[in-house]
Symmetry: C2
Subunit: 362 residues, 2 copies
């Protein structure tokens, strides 16, 4: 039966025609079945005799056969690829989520194709999208949390389901998000509970959905606690910006706490305060957002809001693949991040912020 396969137990690789990679037909010939049977083995079709199946598998092994994805994609018009549209993908949060997405996708037999957004101009977005569409992606995960991206996405219907990693409030897609608003509110409430009444928010760029949500959470808490509102500062997420903002802020000193929209800015901020001779948390408390790995090791250890980027990525894939396969999509529950209290926040020092206490003592 398997005369082709071995001689003296020695595995002889039968001549694959030309230099070409072995195809389903080569396997079929060797296993003495039709190519269709081989195909059935590949897609484990139920009705196939175990004996036959084994013979085919052996032939595959012998020929080192590998299915040709292009051919398969051509005939099924399914690419088994999902796209990821990402901005700032080298930062800890997005990078972690992307890695998790890749892992989860691979587990489900899917491939991941990433397109980064260097800038967020409509052209760049369209270009990246075009790139992904040419890949014939079956679904899209968007980690590019600018409102503008979703405008473009809505305008140029891409024809595949997509999931965003931040709640956009739009109905044309599902979002799997961490509840940024609650996270930010909790962070602010934490400061309030420590007796702070003059709190500044160092926000992210307002076209970022997350930045906007965190700002909203902050405003909610400020409103609830009936605090006077300090105008938020709009930053760019970077530690460098945090540093410069901190330099400016330490001039006025009409506040006792700062809630930064991410850890990087918080770290830059603390750097500037240190330079200005302001003690954190003695004089000023600082709270960040994200809980990046170094957050607990900087000085002082940063109080922040922890979010699980891996979990978000993982769930996003599950959600997306459910849609891709037309399965019932259950309600999406938001992940609520948790506050991690560390050394950078402390009780407000009885007296009012400096500039007023100076006035008072005069």
């Amino acid at each position: 039966m398997n005369v082709h396969i071995g001689v003296n137990g020695l595995a002889v690789t039968p001549e694959t025609p030309k230099g070409r990679a072995p195809s389903i037909r080569d396997v079929a010939r060797l296993a003495e079945v039709s190519h269709q049977t081989v195909s059935r083995v590949l897609n484990d079709h139920p009705s196939i005799r175990p004996e036959t199946k084994e013979r085919v598998l052996l032939a595959m092994e012998t020929l080192q056969y590998r299915p040709n994805r292009a051919a398969r994609a051509l005939v099924t018009s399914r690419s088994h690829t999902i796209g990821v549209l990402a901005a700032r993908s080298s930062e800890y949060g997005p990078a972690t989520s992307i890695a998790a997405i890749e892992d989860a996708a691979r587990e489900h037999g899917y491939y991941v194709n990433t397109a980064n957004l260097a800038t967020v101009t409509p052209e760049a977005i369209t270009d990246a999208l075009e790139h992904l569409m040419l890949q014939a992606i079956e679904g899209l995960v968007v980690i590019a949390p600018q409102v503008r991206v979703f405008d473009v996405l809505a305008a140029a219907p891409i024809g595949v389901p997509f999931v965003s990693l931040q709640s956009t409030g739009r109905s044309d897609h599902l979002a799997l998000s961490v509840d940024q608003v609650t996270g930010a509110r909790r962070a602010t409430q934490h400061l309030v509970s420590l007796g702070h009444r003059e709190i500044v928010h160092l926000a992210g760029p307002q076209d970022w959905i997350e930045a906007e949500a965190r700002m909203r959470g902050f405003l909610d808490a400020v409103y609830d606690a009936d605090l006077t509102l300090h105008p938020p500062i709009l930053g760019d997420w970077s530690a460098d910006f945090g540093y410069f903002a901190g330099r400016e802020l330490s001039r006025t000193r009409d506040f006792t706490a700062v809630f930064a929209a991410n850890d990087q800015m918080a770290i830059g901020l603390m750097h500037a305060f240190r330079d200005a001779g302001l003690d954190v948390p003695g004089e000023i408390s600082v709270v960040g957002f994200d809980d990046i790995p170094v957050a607990q090791h900087v000085w002082p250890p940063l109080t922040t809001v922890h979010q699980d980027f891996r979990e978000v990525g993982r769930r996003a894939v599950a959600l997306l693949l459910n849609q891709v396969h037309g399965r019932e999509v259950l309600e999406v529950e938001e992940i609520v991040p948790r506050l991690v209290v560390r050394g950078s926040s402390a009780q407000a020092s009885g007296h009012r912020p400096r500039y007023t206490s100076v006035t008072d003592s005069a």
Copy 2:
């Protein structure tokens, strides 16, 4: 001629047969040419009349035609995809390089497919590689800097050129790397020049090529300066490990400086020293490696070795595509990283390290 195309200037989309996406043949029919002519326009073949070309392009536009990558890949057996095999891809360095690779690849009309290594077991490596091979990648960039990965890579010949982002010293592939040895040597020499003679190296896992190279650079410098060698500590790159290592180290205190193999560990280290009441840089100097964005904002600002991860990624793609296209590959020049001196390193404080001074004074 183009009666099909419009009525009253209104773009009428002619019926695409069934719900299928328009194919090259649909375009051909509309433009009243053969499908081959359309193909020629797509691959801009020289001998085609401008007039004809325009007609075809118009038809494409009208039908919103998009070439089918699977079909093209099937017949040309070229996927226009490069693979990236990465470990710890969510960390700043790798993540930045990956983003740069993606950008550069897209610029060259290539797609990028990533496979992360959760663990570095041979099975995981084989699995990831298998995943990429099924994608029919044309080339591979390896950012998984464990020696073991290259063992597996060598054993399971993948049949496509690959480039690694660290110099492995092997001849089966090109490496585009930053000269880690020189970087580490410079970092150590910096400490020596400040008068430190008792320097500990907090190394990375020794199966990591970079960790090994940095260790080598350290050892070179120690040897050159004729210092006594403290046994290096083998870490895992994480800030957490740096912290624990720092705790252990601060018990003995038989050193005046530490060179950490990356910034994260250096930051954890400084945290532990602070906890132990050891002043950095007053009593102990610390130097890191990588220059991650927060390095300059921690306290004290971290002296470190800066490397340009984007540049490495970019050049890797250029190198790889040159090989893929069988072009002449020019000599690969190593990028030499540069030392950035900040606040965490300072002149050794005249007296010997504590433990000896205690002994001396007794």
